[in-house]
């Protein structure tokens, strides 16, 4: 019964969403108020219908309705309730339903937010969002029905993949999808601006928080994915550069470029075309990421033909790109820059080069992701593009990006004088060279590590300098104490200092990644009970191997007593678990973290002769990756925080009139 309700809700939702998209567009074009009211009401109806379909899906999982193919494929009776609910997004059709539901919720929020503002843009924003939603609802209704029934109902389901049975299943896919879906909103604002010709800052200002929201969640989705790989996959690394990881990373990179370049448009009225191109690419990459996440599309060129979903998504991406770029082309005469660059050495130029590197990195990853398809098509040979390629190609680009992250805030807007450069660069350069020299003397001379740590300390010093100068100015101007001045400084200019805090988070993440990648130490050994293996300052002695059954799992647990620098340091346990209905055992790593390093123990296998084989790693500074994520959250929250003065500023700012004579396209 609920399955029928769910499917019927999707079908009706498809029709109503299509109506809402068309009605909003016509209302926007003709100004028919009644039609616009009707289109908005249709949005609420679609939200109710997609919520009903989602509730039906959750109900089917919770009630163990294995007559539904999707429920039978991704859950089983022994699955805990939270994981049973999370199975909703374990497969392709359910993920698309989650996408559609989130988009319906976002559309509702956008309508509420724009009740009294953006009156001209709102119908077209709604039209674009509802058109995208129509596609997703249509896909479920006609190509990937999450409520498809099986001819016979099995007694139990196949169960959730054991690798997904952990906390990562709640955080990683949901945050990733919040990011993917979130980018629909700034894209819809951009399209509305192109359709209406209201191409000033209005659409950027109004969609700024949505962009931050999508960017933040996509970033956190990637970070949660890395943490999931680190703690669950159990190979000691966190980023395998597989197509799915790449899929989430590419729109994040172009989204980062967009977040930076819109600052130039807001300040100087420049880069209007470029900003539109960036948000179009970011949204297209979000769709591409959604496609890759559940379709396995890149396993072979031939898989394009295996199901209709790949073709549908490719079709959507082509339509999105063709339509938006056509609109952009038509509006080019109105997208002239209001100012020109004053100097090669200016913050605007440095932002442009920062954009170049961000988009270049996204392109390098995209190129690596699709290259196996290209070689298969050109040479008939399937090759692999794995971690060694990305580390060698993306590594130098990221290093340059980090350096620019430090350089950009040091260069003044419009034109930087020699004095300005000398004054701003001297201290950070001295600090970073000092750090590099001390590290060199300490024996850290890896050609990968030394430039990385120099660049990171350079950026850290520039950010600290910015805070110091700002705080000192407040001390002078407001007679605050230096320590009290810092939070007040942040509060007084939340977007700017929130951005700097985000940069601090990124530095910490980069430091952790660089240390772990370059200086991870590992040993492998097979131990009998009582035998010891050593790695750096740790000695690990196998004390016991236990086998037991629990919650549908057959577990083998190895306990090792740890000594650090000769002193007892507790016990660490690593497990292998064989789940019912699954052939491959899953590793549960033993992990001990502190601020300096992770001791990471993998039970490779328990042997028949009573011995056990282990791989043990010591990963330096890994914890700082997760701390960096928390700092990122704080920085984004600060930048996101509403400021009552924004409206006042917007009201005061004069409307810019383009200097047509000097105008050029960017």
């Amino acid at each position: 019964m609920m399955t029928d309700v769910g499917y019927v809700a999707l079908l009706i939702g498809f029709v109503v969403a299509a109506y809402s998209a068309s009605a909003s567009f016509i209302a926007g074009r003709t100004g028919q108020k009644e039609l616009w009211v009707s289109a908005r009401n249709a949005v609420w109806a679609v939200l109710a219908l997609t919520s009903l379909a989602s509730a039906a899906m959750v109900y089917a999982f919770v009630s163990r309705d294995f007559s539904i193919k999707y429920v039978a494929e991704y859950s089983s009776r022994d699955l805990s309730l939270p994981l049973t609910i999370a199975s909703w997004w374990a497969g392709q059709a359910g993920s698309i339903l989650l996408w559609a539901w989130l988009l319906a919720v976002f559309t509702g929020v956008v309508i509420i937010q724009n009740r009294r503002q953006n009156q001209e843009l709102a119908p077209f924003i709604t039209a674009v969002m509802m058109a995208v939603l129509t596609f997703f609802l249509g896909t479920m209704a006609f190509a990937a029905n999450p409520f498809e029934k099986l001819p016979t109902t099995p007694a139990d389901g196949l169960g959730l993949n054991p690798l997904l049975q952990n906390e990562g299943m709640y955080l990683h896919p949901t945050t990733l999808y919040l990011g993917y879906v979130g980018f629909t909103v700034p894209f819809a604002f951009a399209m509305a601006a192109l359709i209406t010709g209201r191409l000033g800052d209005e659409w950027i200002r109004s969609s700024r928080r949505w962009t931050l929201f999508a960017w933040f969640f996509l970033g956190m989705g990637n970070l949660f994915g890395a943490q999931w790989a680190y703690t669950v996959l159990g190979w000691g690394g966190m980023w395998g550069w597989d197509p799915l990881k790449n899929a989430g990373f590419m729109p994040w990179l172009t989204g980062t470029a967009y977040l930076h370049s819109v600052m130039i448009q807001q300040r100087r009225g420049m880069l209007k075309v470029w900003n539109l191109v960036l948000i179009i690419i970011t949204f297209a990459l979000s769709l591409f990421g959604t496609l890759l996440t559940r379709s396995g599309l890149l396993s072979s060129v031939h898989s394009f033909a295996q199901g209709p979903l790949g073709v549908l998504f490719i079709g959507l991406i082509i339509i999105v790109l063709a339509t938006s770029l056509r609109l952009l082309w038509e509006r080019l005469p109105q997208l002239r820059s209001e100012h020109e660059l004053d100097s090669f050495v200016s913050r605007e130029s440095s932002f442009l080069f920062n954009n170049l590197l961000l988009v270049g990195a996204a392109f390098a990853i995209f190129w690596g992701t699709i290259f196996p398809l290209i070689t298969e098509a050109v040479r008939g040979v399937k090759i692999t593009v794995g971690p060694p390629f990305y580390n060698q190609v993306a590594g130098p680009i990221f290093l340059a990006m980090i350096v620019l992250m430090g350089v950009c805030p040091l260069i003044g807007w419009r034109k930087a004088s020699k004095e300005n450069l000398a004054r701003n660069f001297m201290a950070p350069l001295a600090v970073s060279l000092g750090v590099a020299a001390l590290l060199y003397l300490r024996g850290i001379r890896s050609p990968a590590a030394l430039p990385a740590f120099w660049a990171l300390s350079f950026v850290a010093a520039t950010i600290l300098l910015e805070f110091y100068r700002g705080a000192r100015a407040r001390v002078r101007g407001h007679r605050d104490g230096l320590l009290a001045a810092v939070p007040r400084l942040i509060w007084a200019n939340k977007p700017r200092y929130g951005g700097y805090i985000v940069h601090v988070g990124l530095i910490l993440i980069a430091m952790g990644v660089a240390s772990t990648m370059i200086y991870s130490t590992s040993v492998e050994s097979t131990l009998a009970s009582g035998e010891t293996m050593s790695i750096r300052q740790y000695d690990l002695t196998l004390t016991s191997i236990d086998q037991f059954n629990t919650e549908g799992r057959q577990v083998t647990a190895a306990s090792l007593s740890v000594t650090k620098n000769g002193k007892p340091d507790g016990t660490i346990v690593s497990e292998k678990a064989l789940h019912e209905n699954h052939d491959n055992p899953v590793t549960s790593i033993g992990l001990r973290s502190n601020l300096l390093e992770d001791l990471y123990v993998i039970l490779v296998r328990a042997n028949d002769d009573g011995t056990a084989s282990f791989k043990v790693l010591v990963n330096p500074l890994t914890t700082w990756i997760w701390i960096g994520g928390a700092v990122l959250l704080v920085g984004t929250a600060v930048a996101f925080w509403p400021d009552p003065r924004e409206r006042e500023r917007a009201a005061i700012l004069p409307t810019r009139k383009p200097r047509v004579r000097e105008a050029v396209h960017v």
Partner: protein
Amino acid sequence: MFRLAVALVLVLSLGVGLALPHPAHADNADEVDSIAGNLMCQCGCGLVVSACGDTMECSIGDQMKAIIRKKLAEGNAGGEIVRYFQELYGEGVLAAPTKSGFNLTAWITPFAAIAFAGVALGGFIWFWVSRRDPPPETPCGGAGGRKQQHRYVERVDRELETLE
């Protein structure tokens, strides 16, 4: 300011320096891993050999690691071992494209694209800057005027910094 900079140097270098292993201990004890990291496991997991055997019990990954150990013990270099696997399984066993023939485009294209875009961007900025009107003559001549102007520029810079 100077004290702050010195403190920063010490904090950063001590923090990082303490955590990273000293070169005497930094060499990865398992050379097998570095070679296995360049090979894809043939069990279909989509992971490199160094990762596959740890994640799941994979007999193929284990065998590949065993061969790497044996070949290393026989005195083979890493490159020779990788070539051995390439002859055995074909090009698909390599975790990255070779740097020859058509595969070279995989390596060159990203850098070529960035270099091309960088040159174009540089040229564009140069064009944009050079077509601007030349700056007006300095209104205050003489050393005193320049000094005064310099003071004003500095003040504007300072105030802009606090406003930004």
